[in-house]
């Protein structure tokens, strides 16, 4: 069964700092990868996704993620964070083996200090 690891549980950054949140998955086959964000008091929203093609995907609000197949990783990046990026970030994977479920990581809480 697939699993997802997010090693950073809580990240605190100052505004304008660069961000990289780690995500690793374990599954030997083809996967679809997602980053979701949950702002305080709001629901899960899709930031970006990778299905196929260019392994560098760009999402909303200046976020991007790179799929590195050899490392089973899909790290989220943003060159310059803002206070409004304070939220919880979830990496998720779906296999292409016929099932529909998303498997989520534990999430990373990001706090941006003004």
């Amino acid at each position: 069964a697939q699993s997802v690891s997010q090693h950073n549980h809580h990240v605190i950054l100052s505004e304008a700092a660069s961000l990289e949140l780690g995500c690793n998955y374990s599954y030997g086959g083809t996967v679809n990868l997602f980053w979701y964000v949950q702002y305080p008091g709001q629901h899960l929203q899709l930031l970006l996704k990778y299905f196929s093609g260019d392994p560098l995907v760009k999402g909303i609000k200046g976020f991007e993620a790179e799929f590195i197949k050899s490392k089973f990783s899909f790290n989220l990046r943003k060159p310059s964070v803002q206070w409004s990026d304070t939220a919880e970030y979830f990496c998720a994977v779906k296999t292409n083996f016929g099932n529909e479920k998303l498997t989520f990581g534990t999430g990373t809480r990001l706090t941006i200090i003004p």
Binding site: L44, A92, K94, K101, L102
Partner: protein, 113 residues
Amino acid sequence: EPEVTQTPSHQVTQMGQEVILRCVPISNHLYFYWYRQILGQKVEFLVSFYNNEISEKSEIFDDQFSVERPDGSNFTLKIRSTKLEDSAMYFCASSEERGETQYFGPGTRLLVL
């Protein structure tokens, strides 16, 4: 932009009671899902539903749980006899096609006393 909606936002119930959580998926979506997140833990898949049938379910989704699409818009999760450990945030999601992006609702926070 169309959104998945869920009601109620919060529900408090006594152990052993039945609860029904309601969801209205995005209107042209065909695949529906329930997930839950126990406080401090991962978001976990419960069940997927298509064409009025369960297409996949997790080991969490035992006989106490059931899902239904009673009409053309609602998608419900019923817990027959709630236990303390059912306390969690329950998220509904929907997708347009199989394998496509799942869009989540705001969740229902269920507290079982």
